[in-house]
Structure formats: structure tokens, C-alpha cells
């Protein structure tokens, strides 16, 4: 996926790193720490650069790519009254939140591992503004509102001013458009300052190849910008140009999605090393139907068809291999799937779909050699799980590939049906389920 979310802390760090280059006339005190435990917070507080942790009232919240933390009761800003949170309160709060699984209102659940801790900024509701930028259709859009915080989401249409910025719009036109759309609700004496900030915010968003950047709320006290809450996604395809500007940035797994299994990680690592594409997501490790499909588009239609005909519960994995993987890479991919699919028994037996459309340039016989090698190693296990295998593929050298795999199945005593381009690509799913 081209757009990847980053932590609030990392987003703020990017602001701090480039502040002087982009935000002329504004100040930003980057006072934030990212910690993974209460103890780490206590340790940080001993360092001179984090002295403020001992001196100022604090705010603590998880920094794990999910929003609506306030509504989920996951923002610590008061013990008795707002602004009275001390270092030890925050450390204990973090420890408490880490002591059990957390379920969000959205239903996502998991353990909290990362927290951001910052000074409490006393301010009034009317000082909270909203600003964000993203791409809608083919244009950048800048959103601005005089009402920040949770308020902005209710009554979005009335409260938020949108500025559409086509890709070929000049800076002068963009600046004019932003100035003309400063929200009414911002006091007159602050309008100019807000416009100046918004323009610089947009340029920062644009030049650093953000896909999405939101500050909600931003509090402006004089020329001090307080970025109270931030959500950011980067266009990771721009990574090769942004090495300097982004630094070594982390793209964490979204909260609620269990960390990748060792098998998924191994495939992801193989993918990163290869010129070909190898993708694997385990949807249900106990699922009955496993797929090993060549090609991004074909993998989707197989998943669609299985969900339609068998129901999504039976679909064990999603993934694809494409772009001409080597025999070795294909064997590794196949073995990983065979390993996973022979871990849990299903009384109905297992179904393995070795599918694919008609390849443009991948040598089918070559990739099938990898699958055959894997079948040889795993034949006994696959038989133990009463596995029925359905093969469908076309493309360069497909006749040989199909013949080889059919012969291998006969030799190994595996149940296998083999089809070529004369059979509709997903029809093997129907056949497998009708057995």
C-alpha cells in the first residue's frame, strides 16, 4: 500500500526537524516523548533534555495509529482537575493501561505498547482550531476550521472550509485561495496569522510527501503553535526521494491487527529481497480453504469467489506470488502455506487452490517446479489432512507446468485436479466445493 500511517510522535518530530525551513514567524517547542512503559518514562525524566517532565503538568495517551482516544477514555490530562497530572501519575496510568487488553469503541482490541507524553497546554475551547490536508480525487484539499477538537466532526459541512488545490496550481493562486477561505469563526486579528500558518502547513505537507496530515486541535497562542493532536500518513512510494527529510521513520502495524505471524514476516522479508512479488496474509489459521494464487488481480477474484461460494470463515489466507519469482522463491512460498495449512484439523478435509490467470511473462513450468518440490516434502502431511488440490493456470510454458504437477501428484498419491486456460479462472473453486 502506498500510504502508510506514522506515529503522532514521529509526525511531530518531522514538524520539529523542518520547522525553521517551513514555518516562518511561528515557534514550536517540540516537547514530546514516546515511551513503551512507565519505567521508561521515569528514566527519561532523569535526562536533562526532558527536565520538563518533572516540572510541568502532563498529558499522556497511546500513540498507536488509532483515533478518538478521548472518546475511548485513553487520554490522561487530569487526576482531580485538568492540568494536575504529574510524572508519577502518568507512569502509573501507563502501567495500568498496559496491564490488560484494551477494546476500543470500534471493536478493535489489543495491548497498548506505545504512549506519547507531553506538557499540558492550558487553553480555552475557542483557541482550538482545526487544519488538515489530503488528496481527494486528483486534487489536494486543505481543510480549515475555527472549531477544533472533537467538535469539528459533528457538523463538518458547516464548520469546515475546504480549499481545493489542483496539482498544477501555482503558489500565488494557492495562497490567494487559502487567504480567501480562512474560517469566519477565527477572530479578525488572528486571521492573517492563521492564513500564513495554513499556507506554510500546506507546503510542508506537499514537500514532505504526506498523503494525509491533520492537526486537531491546533492551538495558537500569539506566535506559538501548539500541536495538541496529530494524525499523519506518508506516501511511502516517495521514500527513495525522502530519505534525508524523513530520516529513518517507522511504519507501525495498525492497532488491533495482531502483529504479523513469523510466517507472514518471513514472506514479507523474502518479498523485500526479491524482484518478484510475494504476499501473504493469514485470515483464519484454522480455515479450510487455502490459496496459492499467482497475480494480484487473480488473487482478489479467488478470494471473492471463495467468500461468495463457501463463506468468508472458510477462507484461510490471502496472498499472491507474481512478477516471475524463481523456482526457489516459489518453493519457499508454497512450503510456508503447506506448513500453515497442516496445523489444524478440519473434519471436512482441506482444500488447496493453486490458481492463477494466464500469465503475461512468468514461466509457469518454472514456478510449478518450485511448487512440486514443496509438494514432495509435504505430501504426507497434506494427505494426513485429507487435502484436495485444485490447479488452474495458463501462460508461457503452461502445458509443461500442468503436466509436471499432475504427474507429481500421481506419483505422490495426492488428490489433484488440473485445469488450463480452457476452464474459467475461478471455476475450480466451484468444483472444489461441489465435491
Amino acid at each position: 500500500m502506498a500510504q502508510k500511517a506514522i506515529r503522532e510522535y514521529d509526525g511531530k518530530a518531522l514538524f520539529a526537524k523542518h520547522w525553521h525551513e517551513y514555518f516562518d514567524g511561528f515557534k514550536y517547542d517540540f516537547k514530546s516523548v514516546l515511551v513503551t512503559s512507565g519505567d521508561e518514562l521515569r528514566e527519561k525524566a532523569k535526562l536533562p533534555e526532558y527536565a520538563w517532565l518533572n516540572e510541568e503538568p502532563l498529558v499522556a495517551k497511546p500513540d498507536m495509529l488509532f483515533g478518538k482516544r478521548g472518546k475511548n477514555g485513553l487520554v490522561l490530562f487530569k487526576v482531580e482537575k485538568p492540568g494536575d497530572v504529574k510524572l508519577e501519575d502518568a507512569a502509573k496510568w501507563i502501567e495500568e493501561k498496559q496491564s490488560h487488553e484494551v477494546t476500543l469503541l470500534s471493536g478493535q482490541k489489543g495491548m497498548l505498547t506505545h504512549f506519547i507524553v507531553e506538557p499540558f497546554t492550558p487553553h480555552t475551547q475557542d483557541q482550538e482550531y482545526y487544519i488538515s490536508a489530503t488528496v481527494v480525487d486528483n486534487d489536494d484539499v486543505l481543510y480549515m476550521s475555527a472549531e477544533g477538537g472533537m467538535e469539528v466532526e459533528e457538523g463538518w459541512e458547516e464548520k469546515v472550509n475546504e480549499v481545493r488545490i489542483p496539482i498544477n496550481m501555482s503558489d500565488e493562486e494557492m495562497e490567494k485561495a487559502v487567504r480567501a477561505n480562512v474560517p469566519e469563526g477565527i477572530p479578525d486579528e488572528a486571521k492573517g496569522r492563521f492564513a500564513a500558518f495554513a499556507i506554510q502547513f500546506f507546503k510542508f505537507y506537499r514537500d514532505l510527501n504526506f498523503a494525509y496530515l491533520e492537526i486537531n486541535p491546533i492551538v495558537m497562542i500569539e506566535n506559538n503553535a501548539h500541536i495538541l493532536d496529530l494524525v499523519a500518513r506518508l506516501d511511502d512510494t516517495a521514500g527513495f526521494m525522502m530519505r534525508e527529510k524523513w530520516g529513518d521513520i517507522e511504519f507501525p502495524t495498525p492497532f488491533g491487527m495482531e502483529d504479523q505471524s513469523p510466517e507472514e514476516k518471513a514472506i514479507a522479508e523474502a518479498d523485500a529481497k526479491s524482484g518478484a512479488s510475494l504476499k501473504l496474509t493469514i485470515l483464519n489459521p484454522e480455515g479450510r480453504i487455502w490459496t496459492m494464487v499467482a497475480g494480484g488481480g487473480a488473487s482478489v477474484v479467488y478470494a471473492d469467489t471463495i467468500a461468495d461460494l463457501a463463506g468468508v470463515k472458510d477462507l484461510a489466507n490471502y496472498g499472491e506470488y507474481s512478477g516471475g519469482p524463481t523456482t526457489g522463491e516459489t518453493q519457499f512460498y508454497a512450503e510456508t502455506i503447506f506448513d500453515l495449512m497442516t496445523r489444524y484439523k478440519d473434519p471436512r478435509g482441506k482444500i488447496l487452490i493453486i490458481g492463477g490467470a494466464i500469465a503475461n511473462f512468468t514461466d509457469v513450468a518454472k514456478t510449478f517446479t518450485g511448487i512440486i518440490n514443496a509438494l514432495e516434502k509435504w505430501a504426507d502431511k497434506l494427505k494426513e489432512h485429507n487435502t484436495k488440490i485444485y490447479v488452474r493456470r495458463g501462460g508461457p510454458n503452461y502445458e509443461k507446468g500442468l503436466k509436471d504437477i499432475k504427474e507429481a501428484a500421481e506419483r505422490l498419491g495426492l488428490y489433484m485436479e488440473v485445469y488450463g486456460p480452457e476452464t474459467h479462472v475461478t471455476d475450480i473453486v466451484r468444483m472444489a466445493l461441489e465435491k
Binding site: M1, A2, G297, A298, A357, I358, N360
Partner: protein, 607 residues
């Protein structure tokens, strides 16, 4: 033309020397019987080769190679498709450079996946403003069966024929996915009569031409009778098609399906398929889009598995209505299973026919006096593969005659004579003479052409040129004579200058050289433009007048073409000297002791 994506005359410039993809295009060309290969030229920035060999059926052809798109465009003005096979790091720059070259390219196909989104948007907008159709990024391309196929689309030749991609059918096909494009072609061949035009628009989030751009063109393309659209979860492009159907802009029947219905089962995180395939809102889901399309009368099957029946239904209906008629299957040429690349290439003469030819002209048509052709004509055919006008062939002949001999004392003639006297054959004696030709003997022709041209190209005044050569520490080649001077001119030079002034259309470099001569002779009387200099300079003027580019002339100089005139001419003289020796039966030559300064020290021992 504008409503057909490609025709049988379409030619492309292929950016990146992707040999297997290009070979597949040429194989396709051969099978469908195209007259010209679909790849006019290749751009390979780091290659120093001038061409790449490919098979065309059983034979081989050469496709020219250039180091920049600009050069390729300059030489192939009719190639209006750019196949940009650069990597995701450079694909943007390659496209932008091509767009900067004006309106040469009607279509640019971009294959790279994962171009930074902002750059992709800039590139797509720029192309739109330019009126250029972008196919991609992240695509396998497009095809107009029976006319033109991009790179690997359609797969192997066997699959192309099985999927009826070798001749026009009646469906217009648009997909995102490249893998399923092939599959759809197969389905359409099995259930209908194949496609008339097909485009895989690409899997990245921001692609240049979208479904609607291609479908609107197909609506206007008389070869397309109905259209098939394979969409994906994510994005809202399908709604533009729905609008066009509603407003009546599209009237031809459409069959459509959006893949990715699976995505609804997973709230977030799992990326199904392409980068562009991620639903951000309810209306971007595959279900919503399939339902919305069905509502406006687009033919939407119940599932992907039922797409073949749907295609078959619509096709049969159109057959019944007479919109589609029976297609006559064309003859196809087959490609030999075993093809051997040739080790040698010849582009100047051919001895295979009835009579051997020089650059296409039978020898008899240039040999005898009644043909009016001279040695100059033969040189122009065999050296330059061109028929030069008479003034130029006369000049070449004049040069050869002028340099034929310069007496027995010059080093080459001397060598030839010594060897002949050692009892060696004509050919052995000749080569010892020829071997002396180089930078010091005969080389002034090359040098004069090179330096005078360089000075003239760079607008140096004669004084600046002299200063430049002094700085280089080289005496000006082509200037100076042992005894001749302005007052006692070299008659050979006079003759050449007279011929040039009477017959050349113009002589800019000679005019410049004469200005230089005025300056040099003002310093010393014998620093005149000599015969070597005059020949070299006039050769440049000749080529300029014949329409060669400065770059081509530079290549002539670099490759030693000028020296070749000297070698050819002086061979006549050397052979004369050798035959003279044979006739005189002179004995073995030994140089007299007293003509050698002996100064031999005892060798020091190094410990």
C-alpha cells in the same frame, strides 16, 4: 485515427532496451503481417551501441538505439507512442522529458509500479494538458488486435492466438489489472469473438487515463461494438462511467464487474490487490459499485464466476441484432521454433541475387563508362550507402587522384620499396607502406577537418583558434609546407579550391580556413593551407552541403573516414613503387653504416 488507439502503421519508441519485451512485439508484428516493425527505435541512455538486433520472423532486423528520447524523436518523427519502461525512480523524468519535446507523442505508456503519488499526479496532469493519453503507471499496456501490441501484453504468441488477439474482434476491454486482462481476453475469445481494442489502465492509485477516458474513445471507435469493464474495489472512477451511461454519452452496451467484494469482510488492514484498491467509503466498495452499475442498465453478472455467461449473452444478442457479424479468420504467419542469431551483418552490398549489387545497384550499372559512373560513385555507394551528386563524386575522384603519390622519399613509399627489395610480394610490400599511414603521415587530413571544424562550430575567430591550438600545444594540422608559400602556391591546392568554388553549393569551412591562413601567413610565409588541410576541410564542406548533420560528420572524422581517402589514393602510388622495384629487380637494401650515428653504452647491471 483519433478514435482508434493504434493502427497497423503505429510505431513506438521503446525507452529501455528490454530485449524480450521488444522481441515479443516484433514476433507479434510478424505474425499479423505488419509492414513496418512496431518498434521504430530504442532509447538506452547507457548503451554505446547504435542498434540492437531482433528477429523478425525467421530473419533478423536492426532497431536503432539512441541515448536520449530527444535523439530518437529527431530521427523518427512518425513514432507517436512512447513505451516508458524506466524504473519507478526515473519513469517520471522520462515522461516529463518526452512531453517537453512537444506533441510528438500521442500515447505514453508507463510501466513502473510505485511512482511517488505526487509525481504521478503531476505527470498525469501535464499529459492531459498536452492532449497526450497516458496508459499506466503500473500497467502491462494495451493492444489493438491485428495492429499493434505493447510489450508483454497478451503473453506468449500461442496464448495470443488462442485468445484471438491476433485479429480484431468486437469488444472493447478496459481493466485495472494486467494479469486479469489476459484472462479476460481468453474469456472473451471463448464466449464471444475477441476484442477490438484493450487497455489495462494500471494498478497504482493515480493513473493517467482512467476507465471513462478509454470507454469514451471506444464509444467513438467503429470497430468496438460493446465494452467490457473490469473494475476494482476502491476509488470512484466507475461512477464516471455510470454518469456517461446515464447522460447518453455512452450508448454501446457495457458489461462490467468490480472485483474485491471480499474486502467488506475485513474492516481494515488487509490490502487486497493493487495500491489503488482500497475502499475509503461505502460507495467505493465493490458491492456498491456493482449495484450502481446494474441500476443504470450496465450488464453486471452475479459474480465474477458468472462473467463468461454474461459476455456470451450480450454477444449473442448483438449477433442476433446484426450489430456484430461473422469474422473471417485471417491467415497467420508462424514463427520458426529455432532461430539462430547472425554473427555478421552487412549493409553495403549483396551477392545473393542474380547479380551482385553495391548498395542496391547492380555492379554492371555503375562499372562501364557508358553508365557515366566513376570511382567516386562507387565510393559513395560502398562507403556511404548513398548516391552522391556529380559534383561530390567528382570531388572524391579528384581527391583520390590528388593524393595518389608523392614520390619515393615519403615514409610509406620508402617502406614499400624496402620490402619489395627484400623479395616480398606486392601485397606484403603494400601493407608495410600502408602501415605508416597515421597521425604523422597522411593524418593531417583528419586533423585539419577535426580542428578547423571544432573552431568553426564554436565560433572561434581565427586569432582565438590560433591561441587555442597554441594552448593545446599542437601545430595546426593542414597548415604549413616545406617549400611552398603564398608567392609560390601549391598547384594541387589551387586546383582543389578552384573546383570547389566552381562546383560546391558553398564552402563555409574553407572560407574560414582561408581567413586562418591569412593570419598564419602574416607570421610566416610558408604557413599556408596545404593539400591535406584543403582536402579535409573541403570534405567537411561537401558533407555539410549533402545534408549530413554535424554529429554525423563528427562521426565520419572519428571513425577515420577521411584517412580512408588517403589510404585509397596512396595505394595506387605504393603499388606503382612496388612494381617499379620488381621491374628494376633491385637487390636487397641495406642501409649504409655511415648514415647511422652509433652511440652504444655498455649496459649497466641492476642489482
Amino acid at each position: 485515427m483519433s478514435n482508434r488507439l493504434f493502427t497497423k502503421d503505429t510505431q513506438a519508441i521503446f525507452w529501455n532496451n528490454n530485449k524480450s519485451a521488444i522481441q515479443r512485439m516484433l514476433d507479434y508484428d510478424y505474425v499479423i503481417g505488419r509492414e513496418k516493425p512496431s518498434v521504430a527505435a530504442i532509447v538506452a541512455p547507457t548503451s554505446s551501441n547504435k542498434f540492437e538486433k531482433f528477429f523478425y520472423g525467421p530473419d533478423e532486423i536492426m532497431v536503432p538505439l539512441y541515448r536520449s528520447t530527444k535523439e530518437a524523436v529527431a530521427n523518427h518523427g512518425n513514432a507517436d507512442v512512447l513505451l516508458n519502461f524506466a524504473s519507478f525512480r526515473t519513469a517520471y523524468d522520462v515522461t516529463m522529458e518526452a512531453l517537453d519535446l512537444g506533441d510528438q507523442f500521442r500515447v505514453i505508456m508507463v510501466t513502473a509500479e510505485g511512482i511517488p503519488e505526487r509525481l504521478a499526479r503531476k505527470m498525469n496532469q501535464r499529459a492531459r494538458d498536452n492532449g497526450t493519453l497516458i496508459i499506466g503507471p503500473a500497467t502491462v499496456g494495451a493492444i489493438t488486435p491485428g495492429a499493434f501490441k505493447i510489450a508483454n501484453i497478451g503473453g506468449t504468441i500461442e496464448n495470443i492466438i488462442n485468445s484471438k488477439l491476433h485479429r480484431a474482434g468486437s469488444a472493447g476491454l478496459v481493466t485495472r489489472s494486467g494479469g486479469l486482462f489476459n484472462e479476460l481476453c481468453n474469456i472473451i475469445a471463448l464466449n464471444a469473438d475477441g476484442i477490438a481494442e484493450g487497455v489495462a489502465i494500471g494498478g497504482d492509485r493515480f493513473v493517467g487515463s482512467v476507465f471513462i477516458d478509454n470507454l469514451l474513445r471506444m464509444e467513438q471507435n467503429p470497430d468496438v461494438k460493446y465494452m467490457i469493464l473490469l473494475g476494482e474495489v476502491g476509488g470512484t472512477e466507475e461512477y464516471k462511467v455510470i454518469e456517461a451511461v446515464k447522460s447518453g454519452k455512452i450508448k454501446k452496451p457495457i458489461i462490467a464487474w468490480c472485483i474485491g467484494t471480499i474486502a467488506k469482510h475485513f474492516s481494515s488492514g488487509v490490502q487486497f490487490g493493487h495500491a489503488g484498491a482500497s475502499a475509503n467509503a461505502e460507495r467505493e466498495t465493490a458491492e456498491a459499485k456493482n449495484a450502481a452499475m446494474r441500476e443504470v442498465g450496465i450488464h453486471v453478472p452475479a459474480s465474477f464466476n458468472e462473467l463468461p455467461q454474461k459476455i456470451n449473452e450480450v454477444y449473442n444478442d448483438l449477433r442476433k441484432k446484426g450489430v456484430i457479424s461473422e469474422i473471417e479468420e485471417p491467415e497467420i504467419r508462424t514463427i520458426p521454433k529455432v532461430r539462430k542469431p547472425k554473427n555478421f551483418i552487412c549493409t553495403i552490398s549483396d551477392d545473393r541475387g542474380e547479380e551482385a549489387t553495391y548498395a542496391g545497384f547492380p555492379i554492371s550499372s555503375v562499372a562501364t563508362p557508358d553508365t557515366g559512373k566513376s570511382i567516386g560513385d562507387v565510393v559513395s555507394l560502398l562507403w556511404f550507402k548513398k548516391v552522391y551528386p556529380k559534383w561530390a563524386t567528382d570531388f572524391i575522384e579528384t581527391v583520390i587522384k590528388t593524393v595518389a603519390d608523392h614520390g619515393p622519399a615519403v615514409s610509406g613509399a620508402h617502406n614499400a620499396k624496402v620490402t619489395a627489395r627484400a623479395g616480398k610480394s606486392v601485397v606484403e610490400s603494400l601493407v608495410t607502406g600502408l602501415l605508416t599511414i597515421g597521425p604523422r603521415f597522411g593524418g593531417a587530413i583528419d586533423g585539419a577537418a577535426k580542428y578547423f571544424k571544432y573552431a568553426n562550430d564554436n565560433d572561434m575567430t581565427p586569432a582565438e583558434f590560433l591561441a587555442y591550438m597554441k594552448k593545446q600545444g599542437i601545430p595546426i594540422p593542414g597548415i604549413g609546407h616545406r617549400i611552398k608559400s603564398l608567392r609560390n602556391p601549391d598547384k594541387r591546392v589551387e586546383g582543389l579550391k578552384k573546383f570547389a568554388s566552381e562546383h560546391f553549393p558553398s564552402t563555409p569551412l574553407l572560407d574560414y580556413a582561408l581567413e586562418v591562413e591569412q593570419l598564419t601567413t602574416s607570421k610566416k610565409d610558408n604557413l599556408i593551407l596545404n593539400v591535406d588541410g584543403t582536402i579535409g576541410i573541403l570534405m567537411v564542406d561537401m558533407w555539410r552541403a549533402l545534408g549530413y548533420s554535424e554529429k554525423e560528420i563528427d562521426e565520419f572524422i572519428e571513425s577515420g573516414t577521411l584517412n580512408s581517402f588517403f589510404i585509397l589514393g596512396r595505394t595506387i602510388g605504393f603499388i606503382g613503387h612496388i612494381l617499379d622495384e620488381k621491374r628494376l629487380a633491385m637487390p636487397m637494401y641495406r642501409h649504409p653504416f655511415d648514415d647511422i650515428l652509433y652511440d652504444v653504452q655498455k649496459a649497466e647491471e641492476i642489482k
